[in-house]
């Protein structure tokens, strides 16, 4: 018989600072999310796969290496320029599965639907999921449906989980960065976050801004084929800044990026200016950051540029030694600054 765990045994070794209750910022993908995950979930469920804190776990079953992940989608609005909660739920999980080079195979889909939700909207979402799954080459093989009382949920929440097969021999993880590695970004940043925000807040811009939601598994396959890839991640909530900070902390290295190389669409940059947001911290849903050994960097870049989701790929920086856990940036005018982990959601400024 195993040891019985008493409630008093469950005392976190490190206190979660700041708040006694869960705040929105605990789910923002920034410092507060990170603290909650590390100090509560990882501490409680501790095991070697979880401890890596990648967006997916690598598990072995009968000699097969599997990539396993889950993600919940609570986006508001549920329909936005360039996509909806359905394709987001498929693409987001496909992307999490494949960021270690796995081939995504099967997904589950769990729906939590608020009473009174229009059936035609649910149909549109499900058709969108079917299309996204087909484009990614995955099958949705199991699911669950719950309906909650009116007012007890916000229209619809979707959870997707997924598994994929790892057939290559590389170890691709956020803890594998090495000094000298190149940081490659697959394209323009902040498109998804600004598209959703502009729809949510009824902001309209001269040039329409659409979400970049897309499945990245085929682009990932091209990268893995070239080799030399040490880490990959899709920079969703918290943006590129959070992803780079997570890499730097997990690998105990420094990262330096160059402001003038970071691609931002003019309309998105303009929207960020108006709202007082830094595009580095805004969410993406169809982009990836790859960390690649210097001898393979140009070849990986060339392979990415041949793919429709990587045509704007660019080397934005490099891994450096001596600045463990820190991301810094050479500004456009030649200054230096830290790119810090976001604390919570970015808040539009007063003036």
């Amino acid at each position: 018989m195993g040891k019985t765990i008493k409630p008093e045994d469950l005392k976190c070794p490190l206190p979660i600072t700041g708040h006694d209750t869960i705040q929105l910022s605990h789910g923002s993908g920034g410092r507060m999310s990170n603290e909650l995950i590390s100090k509560l979930f990882v501490w409680a469920f501790d095991n070697p796969a979880l401890r890596k804190q990648d967006d997916q776990a690598v598990v072995e079953v009968n000699g097969l290496k599997l990539s396993f992940t889950t993600d919940s989608f609570v986006v508001d609005p549920i329909f936005f320029p360039g996509g909806d909660i359905g394709d987001l739920a498929v693409n987001g999980t496909v992307n999490d599965i494949c960021m270690n080079g796995a081939t995504p195979l099967y997904l589950s889909a769990g729906f939590i639907i608020e009473e009174g939700f229009p059936l035609k909207d649910l149909q549109a979402i499900v058709i969108s999921m079917k299309r996204a799954a087909s484009e990614a080459g995955v099958q949705i093989v199991t699911g669950d449906t719950k309906v909650v009382n009116k007012g007890k949920g916000d229209k619809i929440f979707i959870n997707t989980a997924g598994i994929g097969l790892i057939e290559h021999g590389y170890d691709i993880s956020s803890s594998n960065l090495k000094a000298g590695d190149a940081i490659i970004l697959s394209g323009t940043i902040a498109d998804h976050g600004i598209a959703v925000m502009s729809k949510r807040e009824n902001l309209s811009f001269e040039t329409p801004i659409t979400s970049d939601t897309a499945s990245l598994n085929r682009l990932v396959a091209e990268i893995v084929r070239v080799g030399g890839v040490h880490a990959m991640r899709d920079p969703t909530r918290g943006g590129v800044a959070a992803t780079l900070n997570e890499f730097a902390m997990a690998s105990h290295v420094g990262i330096r990026i160059h402001e003038d190389r970071i691609p931002v669409k003019p309309a998105v940059a303009g929207a960020c200016e108006i709202l007082g947001l830094d595009p580095l911290y805004v969410a993406n849903e169809g982009k990836l950051v790859a960390v690649v050994s210097p001898d393979k960097a140009e070849a990986v870049l060339a392979a990415m540029k041949k793919h429709s989701l990587g045509v704007d790929a660019v080397i934005i920086g490099e891994v450096v030694s001596g600045q463990s856990g820190m991301v810094s940036m050479t500004t456009r005018i030649g200054g230096q600054r830290i790119v810090d982990m976001p604390v919570g959601e970015q808040l539009p400024r007063i003036c």
Binding site: T17, G18, H19, T21, I22, Q23, L24, S25, R31, M32, E35, E201, L203, G254, D260, P266, A269, G270, E273, L275, G276, V320, G322, Q323, M326, S328, T331, R332, I333, G334, G335, Q336, R337, I338, D340, V343, G344, Q346, L347, P348, R349, I350, C351
Partner: protein
């Protein structure tokens, strides 16, 4: 980006830096008044690129930072009440009162909503006649026309369930107070471009003359700031004390007349307390008596709230340009953006938050090539 890229051009920035270096013969202390400028300076690393003779000190121009703790506690009190929809600009939601912030009130069930414009709060009031809708009217002259317009619209449309918690502050009286202080170190100002967009720059002329201090109305892009510094340095080196306008593409001498008109219609000048610094005479806006019914303090009969600032927080000294964030014993230790002791750390435009996010230490903590 059209109209912006030229103000971020590294070649123009380098040329301006060379001109500043060529013009300077001795040390000068220049204050950028606006938190947005502080943010731009630190974010672009401008302070590291300037010749060492120039010391930039950071002014009180962060609206979140200078909103008194008592006023935030009043906001928290109103937002916690049933049947209230409390609206605010995003910046204010994470600013700590003496016990919590508006996000915590929201997590406790308060109906707290972020809006991009006070006019949106009026719309919410129109759609929710059974609720009291309150807008937290903070900010400098920059936001005052919009908040004035919100009250004016509510008045015109007979919307009775709308009110505002008013904590507007005015920049020129604060500059005067800093210059009149025996501790003052400021020798020239970069005046806040956005404020001058509304109010113009005529009111700065008597300040420059009386205190013999150059004032350069300055924008927010790297090239704007470097050009503003160059204009200030040239005045200092020449022994001149004039008001000059670097931000002429946006700012007119007389300001924005319709904006000023709506402000005057709705607000009157009043004495106002600035968080961490104290009360300055005639340094804020309050609702005129004919718009008293839109005053949330009166509508909710809040009375006076008295609260203590954490004694170890030196936000007030930082806002007056007397200390730098890294001179605080708690900076980056007990006081971080996640656990702020004072508003200069929590506001995205606060000097402490800017140093924490971009620099951390006194000297370049970011290793260079």
């Amino acid at each position: 980006m059209k109209y912006l890229d030229e103000f971020r051009d590294p070649k123009i920035a380098r040329k301006l830096l060379d001109e500043i270096t060529a013009a300077i013969t001795k040390p000068w202390v220049i204050m950028e008044v606006c938190g947005g400028q502080t943010h731009a300076i630190i974010r672009n690393g401008i302070d590291q690129l300037l010749p060492q003779e120039i010391e930039l000190v950071h002014g009180p121009g962060c609206p979140v930072c200078v909103t008194p703790l008592e006023m935030i506690d009043k906001a928290l009190d109103i937002a916690s009440r049933p049947n209230v929809i409390f609206t605010s600009f995003g910046d204010m939601l994470r600013v700590p009162g003496s016990k919590k912030d508006l996000f915590v009130v929201k997590s406790e069930g308060g109906d707290v909503r972020m809006v991009y414009s006070p006019l949106d709060a009026v719309k919410i009031a129109r759609k929710n006649p059974d609720k009291q809708v309150v807008f937290f009217a903070v900010g400098f002259e920059t936001t005052a026309p919009l908040t004035a317009m919100a009250v004016w619209q509510a008045h015109q449309q007979n919307i009775d369930n709308f009110s505002m918690l008013v904590s507007h502050v005015l920049v020129p009286p604060a500059m005067e107070a800093l210059l009149g202080s025996p501790d003052n170190r400021v020798q020239a100002f970069l005046a806040a471009g956005h404020v001058c967009t509304v109010m113009g720059w005529e009111e700065y002329v008597p300040i420059a003359q009386k205190h013999k201090v150059p004032i350069v109305v300055t924008g927010f892009e790297p090239v704007d700031i470097l050009e503003g510094i160059l204009m200030a340095v040239r005045q200092l080196e020449d022994g001149r004390a004039e008001v000059e306008n670097q931000y002429a593409r946006v700012v007119k001498r007389e300001g924005n007349r319709p904006a000023i008109e709506v402000i005057r219609k709705v607000f009157q000048v009043t004495d106002r307390k600035w968080r961490g610094i104290g009360e300055f005479p005639r340094s804020g806006f309050a609702l005129r008596s004919e718009f008293e019914k839109y005053d949330a303090e009166k509508r909710f009969a809040l009375g006076d709230i008295s609260v203590e600032e954490p004694p170890e927080c030196i936000s007030g000294l930082i806002l007056q340009g007397l200390k730098k964030p890294y001179e605080c014993g708690e900076f980056g230790r007990r006081c971080t953006p996640q656990t702020p002791l004072g508003a200069t750390m929590v506001s995205s435009e606060g000097a402490c938050a800017a140093y924490f996010a971009y620099h951390r230490q006194k000297d370049d903590s970011v290793e260079k090539n």
